[in-house]
Structure formats: structure tokens, C-alpha cells
């Protein structure tokens, strides 16, 4: 019996008791505890960033300045981005990695547990530092999350604090990434070869390499800002012989791979969920792996498509246009593979599948607008308008965030041992899916009609769609309270979930009891268990 065997191996070790109280969380080296910490932190940041977004949308409800002054508005857009990217999405993925990678590859924990603890506990300090800039002279950074000089250098005391916060976040990410790579490379159970790993593990492995490659680049760029501001260097100051555009090149050399850091783990989760609820193996597993690797490679040679308007030579514009368009090929392969996975399956539509399907449709829409943005002449019109805002929110909200929600619903029974409230989950899904489109689809129109991004006030012809967008924003924001309720209820109790919480689920994590014991796979799963996990 699958159940009894897994139960045996889970309890073959000595204990399942854990320390109590606050010290459990402060000093924990357990991958599940640290995963929970990361996910909780991401959740708090998601709501904090969401409140900032709602303030922005409230100001944009109507032309004229109603509730914010322009500097506060700029600080809100800047901090909304930093909080959502570095505080919500990235930590959420590390949380999933911590929880799932060891269970999926048959490893007892992450390879470097002490560093694991350290990399998490850096984050609260980083964000306290970043957010306390709101209370220092000069206020929070307000030059946009892209931190372009010379504008960013006009900031007050908040600038060095934000830079050190970014250093800390980078250090945390790099440690997390090293941990993932070392774990995956060294701690797979015998028999799990690289091409037998679940796709979530694969996408995270590739993401981790991206992180290690580009976070130091960001750290370098912001350090140069620091020395330009305080130590008289002129890296980015034209007056001193420097080059403000060089910052943009360095930043986006980090920034574009960063975009894939935000989305590749989402691809992994979707690749777990669609086969489960189609009751059919993932179509084209190997091509999925190769497509992910191709996307990661291409991400290093497309960066300047974020800055087509800086005045590049024609040859440069052509190169970055063509390389950018190439990304559509591996991304298309992924979408086609997911679609074919559903073909001739036996589909059911529980909440994780609903979020995964919404991801499939809406991420693809974001892909289309991305392709349009890659066409340089058209980008001369789209650049820095709400069309861009609509594009990246389509790939990040119904893209990355929906995938994270799908993952939470999918693995909640494994984490808590309880079934969540399916009815509330579906309410959460439908409200989110409807309002996210009310929120972001009209922003395409605004951009095409000529509304620049990052403006606190606008010409009156943009009023109608801004109102629609604001209604969508509040609807979407309020709907997220349902997520809190569902998760809270599920943690507290509910119908007992079986080991294999989903009929069509496959993978080693489903061979473990629900909830997963504190220590799992203390003895590596044997060949029969691995085969059983894979065959489903």
C-alpha cells in the first residue's frame, strides 16, 4: 500500500515534534517552516503593495488631484513595484521552492538549512529599511522602481536606505538560489535523474541560475548610484563624463532576466496543475524543459527592448527587436503543450485548475501585447504609456500571481492536511478573474489613446476608462480577502485530506501523508515509491 509505506518512511526517523513558540520560527532550519515563513511574508507584502495600488487607483479615479500630492503619488508607484516584485512574488516562489522541492525530489530538507533560515530572516530587515524611507527627510524613493539617474539622485535620505535594502534583498535571493541549486543537484533521491524531475523543480533550477547571474548586476548598479551620490564618482553623470544611459543598460541586463525569475516558477506550477486536473501526463515534458532553458538564455540578450526610445543605433534596435520576437517561439511551445495536455483529457475544474486556466488565457494575452511591444516602430508609440502598464500587469497578476494562487490551492491539502472550502475558493477565483480584467484590460485602451504612465493626473478624455479600471482595482483588491479566509479556515480545520489530495495528481509529494509530517523523506524513497509517484 502506498499509504502505509510512505507513512513508515516518514516516521522511520526519531521524532515529529517541533519546538514551540516564537523560537520555532526564529531559529528554524526546517524547510517547511521556512517555506511557511516565506509564503506568509509574501502574503503580507502582497496586501501592503495592494493597498499602495489602491491609493494610486483612487487618485486616478477622476482628473484633478484629489487625495495625493504628485511626490507621494510617485513614491507610491515606486514602492508598489518594489514591494510587489521583491516582497511578494519573489519570496512567494522561494516559499513554494522550500515547501515543495525537497518533497518532490525525495530529499529530507534543503541542502543548506542554516543559510535557509538566514536568507529568510534578512527579508524583514530589508523591507523595514525600505519602508521606513517614508518617514525620513526627503521621503520614500519616488524616481520609479527602475531607479533611473539622474532623477533618482534627487532623492533625500531615503535613497541610501533603499539602496541598502536592495542589497539585502539581493543577498537573500542569492542565498536562496544557491540553496535551491545545491539541493537539486545533490539531494535528489536515487533514481530521480534530471529529466525525471517535476517541471516545478526544473523551472526553479533555471530560475536560481538566473538569480545568481543577475542579482549581483543589480547590486553593482545601485552601488554605483550610491557612489555617484555620496563619493563624487560620475558613472552616470554626463557632466562628469559619465553616461546616464549606461545605467539603463546595466539595470535592464538585470531587469529582463528578473522578469523571467518572476514567471518561470509560475510555468512550473501550471505544468503541475494542468496535467493533474486533465488526468493526463504533461504533453512534451522534454520540450517544456528545453523551452524554459531557451527562454532563460534569450532573457540575457533582449534587455534593451525596455529602452528603445533612448536613441540606439539602427543595428542595435534591429538586433533587440529580433531577439525579443524570438522569445515568442519557446513561450508558444509552452502554451501549445499545456493546451495539448488538456486535449483528450478528462477535465475537472477545482479552484487550482480554474486559476491555471485563467493563467493560460490571460498570460497569453500578456504575451501578445509583449510581442507588439517588441516591434520597435510600434514601441515608439507604446513606450511608457498605459499599454505597457497593461502588458506587464497581465503577465504578472493573472500570470505570476494567479499561478501562485493556483499553487496555494493545489498544495494546501498537503500542507495543512485539510480540504479547503471549495465553494469559497471558487468565489475567490471568479471575482478575481472578472475584476482583474476590468482592472487591466481598459489600460490597453488608455495607452493606445495616449495616456503616459506614472502621471498622477490626466487629461479629461481619459476619465471613463480610468474609472472602470479603478472599479476593477477595488473589486480585485477586496476579493483577495476571500483568499485569507479560505487559507485561515483550512489551516484551522476541515475535512481530512487524503495523501493523494487530487485524483489525478502525480509526483512524490503525494506519496507522503497529509499533512506532510515535520520531517519527510528521512530515508530516500525507494524505486517502487518513485515509480508509483510518477505513474499517476
Amino acid at each position: 500500500m502506498a499509504t502505509s509505506h510512505a507513512h513508515d518512511s516518514a516516521h522511520a526517523g526519531h521524532h515529529d515534534e517541533k519546538p514551540y513558540g516564537i523560537t520555532r520560527w526564529l531559529f528554524t532550519t526546517n524547510h517547511k517552516d521556512i517555506g511557511t515563513l516565506y509564503l506568509s511574508f509574501a502574503c503580507i507584502m502582497f496586501f501592503l503593495g495592494g493597498v499602495m495600488a489602491l491609493l494610486i487607483r483612487a487618485e486616478l479615479w477622476h482628473p484633478g488631484l484629489q487625495i495625493l500630492d504628485p511626490v507621494t503619488f510617485n513614491a507610491l508607484t515606486t514602492n508598489h513595484a518594489l514591494v510587489m516584485i521583491f516582497g511578494a512574488v519573489m519570496p512567494a516562489w522561494v516559499g513554494f521552492a522550500n515547501w515543495m522541492i525537497p518533497m518532490q525530489i525525495g530529499s529530507p530538507d534543503m541542502a543548506l538549512p542554516r543559510m535557509n533560515n538566514y536568507s529568510f530572516w534578512i527579508l524583514p530587515f530589508a523591507f523595514v529599511l525600505l519602508l521606513s524611507t517614508w518617514f525620513v527627510p526627503g521621503g520614500a524613493p519616488a524616481g520609479g522602481w527602475t531607479l533611473y539617474p539622474p532623477l533618482v539622485l534627487q532623492g533625500g535620505d531615503g535613497l541610501p536606505m533603499a539602496i541598502f535594502a536592495i542589497h539585502l534583498m539581493g543577498a537573500s535571493s542569492i542565498m536562496g538560489a544557491i540553496n535551491v541549486i545545491v539541493t537539486i543537484m545533490n539531494m535528489r533521491a536515487p533514481g530521480i535523474t534530471l529529466l525525471k524531475m517535476p517541471l516545478f523543480v526544473w523551472t526553479w533550477l533555471i530560475t536560481a541560475y538566473l538569480l545568481i547571474a543577475v542579482m549581483p548586476v543589480l547590486a553593482g548598479a545601485v552601488t554605483m548610484l550610491l557612489t555617484d551620490h555620496f563619493f563624487g564618482t560620475s558613472f552616470f553623470s554626463a557632466a562628469g563624463g559619465g553616461d546616464p544611459v549606461m545605467f539603463q543598460h546595466i539595470f535592464w541586463f538585470f531587469g529582463h532576466p528578473e522578469v523571467y525569475i518572476l514567471i518561470l516558477p509560475a510555468f512550473g506550477i501550471i505544468s503541475e496543475i494542468i496535467p493533474t486536473f486533465s488526468r493526463k501526463p504533461l504533453f512534451g515534458y522534454e520540450s517544456m524543459v528545453y523551452a524554459t532553458a531557451s527562454i532563460a538564455f534569450l532573457s540575457f540578450i533582449v534587455w534593451a527592448h525596455h529602452m528603445f526610445t533612448v536613441g540606439m543605433p539602427l543595428a542595435g534596435e534591429l538586433f533587440f527587436m529580433l531577439s525579443t520576437m524570438l522569445i515568442a517561439v519557446p513561450t508558444g511551445v509552452k502554451v501549445f503543450n499545456w493546451t495539448t495536455t488538456m486535449y483528450k483529457g478528462s477535465l475537472s475544474f477545482e479552484t487550482p485548475m480554474l486559476f491555471a486556466l485563467a493563467f493560460l488565457f490571460l498570460f497569453t494575452i500578456g504575451g501578445f501585447s509583449g510581442l507588439m511591444l517588441g516591434i520597435v516602430p510600434a514601441d515608439f508609440q507604446y513606450h511608457d504609456t498605459y499599454f505597457v502598464v497593461a502588458h506587464f500587469h497581465y503577465v504578472l497578476v493573472p500570470g505570476a500571481i494567479f499561478a501562485a494562487m493556483a499553487g496555494v490551492y493545489y498544495w494546501l491539502p498537503k500542507w495543512t492536511g485539510h480540504r479547503y472550502n471549495e465553494k469559497l475558493g471558487k468565489w475567490h477565483f471568479w471575482l478575481s478573474a472578472i475584476f482583474v480584467n476590468v482592472l487591466f484590460f481598459p489600460q490597453h485602451f488608455l495607452g493606445l489613446a495616449g495616456m503616459p504612465r506614472r502621471i498622477p493626473d490626466y487629461a479629461t478624455q481619459f476619465t471613463d476608462w480610468n474609472m472602470v479600471s479603478t472599479i476593477g482595482a477595488f473589486g480585485f483588491g477586496l476579493s483577495q480577502i476571500l483568499l485569507l479566509i479560505v487559507v485561515w479556515q483550512c489551516v484551522r480545520g476541515g475535512e481530512k485530506a487524503p495523501n493523494r489530495a487530487w485524483e489525478g495528481a502525480h509526483g512524490l509529494e503525494w506519496e507522503l501523508p497529509s499533512p506532510a509530517p515535520y520531517h519527510t523523506w528521512e530515508t530516500a524513497p525507494d524505486v517502487a515509491t518513485i515509480a508509483r509517484g510518477a505513474e499517476h
Partner: protein, 295 residues
């Protein structure tokens, strides 16, 4: 079943929204790019519509396949999974190669347009545009006409918090300036863009082009409007507090009117109406918008 209806309704709505952006509604500039008034803006518009329709066709096919699977292969309708479909070299090869051809087909007109856009040779008039926090300076290098262009006072009053003025009652709210840039029709005008403090971007949607104005750099773009009229745009690169309040207004006038306008605005040999062209450095503090300058 209700889910199915919702999904189809959603798809229908999306299709309807997309079709609204089609050429039939091109005049409806509330939701689509306009063809504009220059050769470049028209080319860019047609390129935009081409990609849009290519995307729509692909979307119909891909979303159609997804919706078909979602509707047809439901467990609730007794669908039995065919677990043998896991891999097909042929299918994967097809959907790798066909997109490449589509992309090449899109890249060719894009590259052609780009080559025209970047060709700033043979211009008949050159204007230097300098971005400041938060206004523009226009310097006609051929005739010496030189002035600043700042948000109009009516907009500037109305936009203050608690002004009590309804923006809807202000003419061209936030899109009006005290001194318009004036250029002749049917003339290749070259703009040289730079900035004095931080990075700005000069953008008038009707002209199709947007380019950054960067301190220490001189960027170029060209305009050849085939229509007279007044065209409005804004700074498009975040440049600090009043980024949203440094609009651009361009009057395209007949060549005769332009010649006349230059004559009346040329600096007299002795009297200097604006800051001398070579020394435009207004301290950032003075550039505050509250002092709606009279140039």
C-alpha cells in the same frame, strides 16, 4: 454548464472588445492608436494594426483549441483520458517552425519602417528641444527663435489640490501650454532632443514618435506633418514631481504662416526676449511650475 456559458460569454466579450479596435473604429481615438498626421505615424499605425490582427487570429485559434478542450473533454461529461498522448515530434516541430515564419513576416515591415524612421537626413528645419523640470525649451537653430513652453495657467490653477475647479471646465486640461511650438506643414522638421537636468521624453502621438531627451546626449527625430492643426502630447519619461504637468502643444501651420510667424518672433538684434540661446540654464528651483512663466 454555467461555467461553460460564462467562459463563452467571456470569450465573446473579449472578441467584441478586440473587434472594436479594428480599422472601422480607427477614428474612435478613445481606445485605439490614431493614424496620426505624418508619414511615420501612419506607417506605425498600420504596423500596429497588422500585429494586432495577427495576434487576434492566433488568439482565436489558440483560445479556440483551449475552449474546445475545456468544453469537450470534461470529466463531468464522462470524458476518459487518453494517457498515451504525451509527445509528438511532428506536432512540436510544427508549432516551433510556424511561429518563426509568422515572426519573420512581421519583422520585415517593422525593419523597413524602422529604417525610414531613423533617416533624419535632408531635413529642412532644425529645432533644438531641451527638457527641464518641468517645461520645454524650443530653439529654432536656423532663425534664432527661442522660447520656453510651460503648462497653461488655467490648467495649473485647476490641478492644484483643493482648487475647487472642475477639470472638465478647463479647455484642454493639462494639454495646453503658454507658448506653442510652431512648425510648417509638409516640411521635414528635425528635432534635436536633450535635457538640462533629468531624462524627459518628447511625445506627440499624432506624429507617431517618442524619444528620450537625456542630459549630455543629443537625440534626433523627424516630423513631416501633412495636415495643419494643433497637436498635443506630453512628457513620457518620469522626471519628478511635475512629470504629468509638462505638456507639448504643436501648431502645424502653412509655410507662409510659418515664415510670417518666424519674422514676428525672431529676436531683435538688441532686445533679447528670452534667455540667450546659448545660456538656457534656469536653476531647477526656479523651474517650479507654480511660477507659470511668461517666457
Amino acid at each position: 454548464m454555467s461555467k461553460k456559458r460564462l467562459i463563452t460569454a467571456g470569450a465573446g466579450l473579449a472578441a467584441a472588445l478586440v473587434s472594436l479596435t479594428g480599422p472601422a473604429f480607427a477614428g474612435w481615438d478613445g481606445i485605439n492608436m490614431t493614424p496620426g498626421v505624418t508619414e511615420l505615424s501612419a506607417r506605425i499605425y498600420h504596423l500596429h494594426m497588422l500585429i494586432l490582427w495577427v495576434c487576434v487570429v492566433i488568439a482565436v485559434l489558440v483560445f479556440g483549441a483551449m475552449i474546445y478542450s475545456i468544453v469537450r473533454f470534461r470529466k463531468s461529461r464522462g470524458a476518459v483520458p487518453d494517457t498515451t498522448i504525451v509527445h509528438s515530434n511532428k506536432a512540436e516541430l510544427i508549432w516551433t517552425i510556424i511561429p518563426v515564419f509568422i515572426l519573420v513576416a512581421m519583422a520585415i515591415p517593422a525593419a523597413k519602417a524602422l529604417i525610414v524612421i531613423e533617416d533624419t537626413r535632408n531635413s529642412e528645419l532644425t529645432i533644438k528641444v531641451t527638457g527641464y523640470q518641468w517645461k520645454w525649451q524650443y530653439d529654432y537653430l536656423d532663425s534664432g527663435v527661442n522660447f520656453f513652453s510651460t503648462l497653461a495657467e488655467s490648467s495649473n490653477f485647476a490641478r492644484q489640490r483643493g482648487s475647487g475647479i472642475d477639470p472638465n471646465t478647463v479647455d484642454h486640461y493639462l494639454l495646453e501650454v503658454d507658448h506653442h511650438l510652431v512648425i510648417p506643414v509638409d516640411t521635414k522638421v528635425r528635432l534635436l532632443l536633450t535635457a538640462n537636468d533629468v531624462i524627459h521624453a518628447w511625445w506627440v502621438p499624432a506624429f507617431g514618435m517618442k524619444k528620450d531627451a537625456i542630459p549630455g546626449f543629443v537625440n534626433e527625430l523627424w516630423i513631416k506633418s501633412h495636415e495643419t492643426g494643433t497637436f498635443r502630447g506630453q512628457c513620457a519619461e518620469l522626471c519628478g514631481r511635475d512629470h504629468g504637468f509638462m505638456p507639448i502643444v504643436v501648431d502645424v501651420v502653412s509655410k507662409e504662416d510659418f515664415a510670417h510667424w518666424v519674422e514676428t518672433h525672431k529676436p531683435a538684434p538688441e532686445a533679447v526676449p528670452a534667455a540667450p540661446a546659448a545660456e538656457p540654464a534656469a536653476p531647477a528651483a526656479e523651474a517650479a511650475p507654480a511660477s507659470a512663466t511668461k517666457s
